[in-house]
């Protein structure tokens, strides 16, 4: 039998160093990062919010790619761990637990507000930082979760911004249209409250039921009321097209003002040539420097210009990244503190001069003057014509 002999021209120390180096390089991933920082994402891939959630997820993934390409976070690669809750609140809570068990340092909630709310019941137990762009005004109030942060434009900010624009146009008497979905009804309710608070009278209210074949009866009533403008709080795509067809058929000239839903491009496709001059709420100003950078990254990745939704996702992740950087650690307590201390962070979303930040004790970070009103021009989301609530 032959003996294994250490080469005599190697020193023992040198041999041990070579052995350790060989073992270390054998274990380390080929990317060159020592280990990954896991960030969880709860999103809707299969439920009724997927049309909103999928573009946002694109933005989150793009942000992760950009960060990793620029050297990663604290010397490590970001690894997104994505779970589908189908927009079911109870599933969202269990997905949050699954993500926490898998070692994520934070969670981004990307389905509906009710799902984000339910997930909080899980994240609060382990003080896992949770970030969302949902706009519900009550998300940070129902549960005293000091590690839950909301950076999307609140519904109240959006509506106040639209009202400020309406006031600047001197509208006195308006019509209010909506559909019979729960969200459409809620939007209509808040539109009406805000309009009346602003001294604008709602002279006619009409509902377009889902599945309607025509909106002509409702629009004839609107025409009879002679409003200065028409506020459109509905969200259903097909019924929105019906509304605009009837609008043109009856020769309306009044401006239509819509909610954030009209910032979704599918309306421009199905309502082609029907929506010229329509005003809508958005939180995205393409002229903002940070938005321009994001647009460039997105075009490079996807070959087309983004609309607002991927921007929300991009900001969700980048917001977490900046907090983790300032914390210098992925320790959950430190990250929470860093998130709460965020001030003046300029993201993709928000009006040109605005930035995210949290007032003391508050966990809603979207700037009150950050929402904008844009016009639809040439079948595209056109320029910002108003920003803020003043």
């Amino acid at each position: 039998m032959r003996e294994l002999r250490i080469p005599t021209n190697w020193t023992r120390r040198g041999f041990l160093a070579a052995a350790v180096l060989g073992i270390a390089t054998g274990i380390a991933p080929a990317t060159g990062f020592a280990e990954n920082i896991k960030i969880g994402v709860i999103t809707d891939k299969t439920g009724n919010a997927r049309f909103y959630a999928q573009p946002v997820l694109q933005g989150i993934m793009l942000a992760a790619k950009v960060v990793n390409a620029q050297g990663g976070l604290l010397g490590k690669k970001i690894e997104l761990v994505i779970e589908d809750d189908g927009n079911k609140p109870d599933v969202s809570a269990s997905k949050a637990q699954k993500l926490i068990d898998s070692g994520v340092v934070a969670i981004i909630s990307n389905s509906s507000s009710t799902s984000s709310q339910q997930a909080q019941n899980t994240t609060i137990k382990t003080l896992t930082p949770q970030v969302t762009h949902n706009g519900s005004d009550t998300l940070t109030r129902k549960l005293d979760n000091k590690c839950f942060f909301q950076i999307g434009p609140l519904g109240s900010i959006q509506i106040r911004t639209l009202m400020a624009y309406a006031k600047s146009k001197n509208y006195k008497r308006v019509a209010l249209m909506t559909d019979n979905t729960a969200l459409g009804q809620i939007l209509a309710k808040y539109f009406k409250i805000s309009l009346e608070k602003s001294g604008v009278k709602v002279v006619v209210e009409q509902v377009v039921p889902a599945g309607a074949k025509s909106v002509l009866p409702q629009m004839q009533k609107v025409r009879a009321a002679k409003p200065d403008a028409i506020f459109q709080a509905g969200i259903l795509g097909r019924e929105m097209v019906l509304f605009f067809r009837a609008y043109h058929q009856l020769g309306f000239k009044q401006q239509v003002l819509g909610s954030f839903n009209l910032s979704i491009p599918s309306y421009l496709r199905t309502g082609k040539d029907l929506m010229e001059g329509v005003a809508f709420i958005d939180a995205f100003d393409p002229a903002k420097p940070e938005a321009k950078t994001f647009i460039a990254h997105y075009k490079k990745e996807h070959g087309k210009t983004p609309f607002s939704l991927p921007g929300y996702g991009y900001d969700d992740l980048m917001f977490l990244v900046q907090a983790i950087k300032r914390a210098g650690s992925t320790d959950k307590v430190k990250v929470c503190a860093a998130l709460q201390a965020t001030k003046g962070y300029r993201g993709v979303m928000g009006a040109k001069t605005e930035s995210y930040g949290f007032a003391a004790g508050k966990r809603t970070g979207f700037p009150p003057q950050g929402a904008v009103v844009r016009l639809i021009k040439d079948n595209k989301h056109g320029p910002v014509v108003h920003s803020g609530t003043k």
């Binding site: 019979n180 509902v207 599945g211 009533k221 067809r245």
Partner: protein, 293 residues
């Protein structure tokens, strides 16, 4: 009341699409006794077939319309051959085909969701949007097109049943299947033609209605409900009853929405309310079956 003429045009157009779906039910029901709720899916599929032909392949609108009708005729024929005929041949009873077709409803629906997704798509019509005046009445060009096409279809179907041998054989099968078979009428062919014809007409309803708004998979259920209600209101035994039922239903919906002093959201209740009233008070519908000569 200057709104009324234009409102009537839109109501008649809606009534025509309900009437076409009711006719689709009737085409299958009369010779076979089978209520096929999948006609709503066929109407929706017709719209998407036109989207593929006119929208994606950019063929002329008339090709899209006719192509969609033929495509749906093929779907109807295949449905009858694959799932209905085996049950009829095995004498599986009256309920079995109805249940199987309910299952096919789910299959069609899910297949369309897989292929086209749950969002809505634009379907352009031959005339664009806007307003056309014809004497004292005015309306959307597509509405006038729907009315004209529907009258043509109903005229053709009425002539088929009343004036052709094949139509009479449908009638004979409806009256007595066994006797019709003994008289030499090919029951399988009549059944297959009824499914193909019903599917084509349902598909046509979807194609005509699509350009009024946009198309989406979930329009299948409203088509099925409104068509069925129109059938019950008009009478299940008369071709003209299907159209009358559709128009009565659409008039009730539109006039309620326009003139009734109730919140506009409540107008949703018109269809089910009318259905319940007719089932309770006049289940045979407005037009009773003709007396056999």
């Amino acid at each position: 009341m200057s709104d009324l003429p234009e409102l009537l045009v839109t109501a008649f157009a809606s009534g025509c699409t309900y009437g076409l779906v009711a006719l689709a039910y009737l085409m299958i029901l009369r010779p076979t006794g089978i209520i096929n709720f999948a006609v709503g899916e066929w109407a929706m599929m017709g719209a998407f077939a036109a989207l593929v032909l006119s929208g994606m392949l950019e063929l002329p609108s008339v090709v899209g319309i006719l192509g969609a009708a033929f495509a749906l005729a093929a779907v109807g024929w295949l449905t009858e051959w694959s799932v209905v005929r085996p049950l009829v041949v095995r004498d599986a009873g009256h309920l079995a085909p109805i249940l199987v077709l309910l299952g096919m409803l789910v299959v069609f629906h899910q297949a369309m969701l897989l292929i086209f997704g749950g969002g809505d798509e634009p379907l352009s019509g031959p005339f664009g949007f806007g307003r056309v005046g014809l004497g004292p009445v005015a309306g959307a060009p597509q509405d006038f097109f729907i009315i004209a096409t529907t009258l043509l279809v109903f005229g053709a179907v009425w002539l088929f049943f009343e004036r052709t041998v094949w139509g009479k054989s449908f009638e004979a099968v409806a009256i007595n299947r066994r006797a019709a078979a003994l008289m030499g009428i090919n029951l399988r062919l009549v059944t297959a033609l009824s499914f193909a014809g019903g599917a084509a007409i349902a598909g046509l309803a979807g194609v005509l209605d699509g350009p009024r708004a946009s198309i989406e998979v979930k329009t299948a259920l409203p088509f099925a409900i409104q068509g069925f209600s129109a059938l019950v209101i008009g009478g299940v035994n008369r071709v003209e009853g299907a159209l009358l039922g559709g128009i009565v239903l659409a008039l009730a919906e539109n006039l309620t929405q326009r003139y009734a002093p109730i919140p506009s959201g409540l107008s949703l209740g018109v269809t089910p309310l009318l259905l319940i009233i007719f089932l309770l008070v006049r289940p045979a519908g407005l037009l009773r079956a003709k007396e056999a000569s």
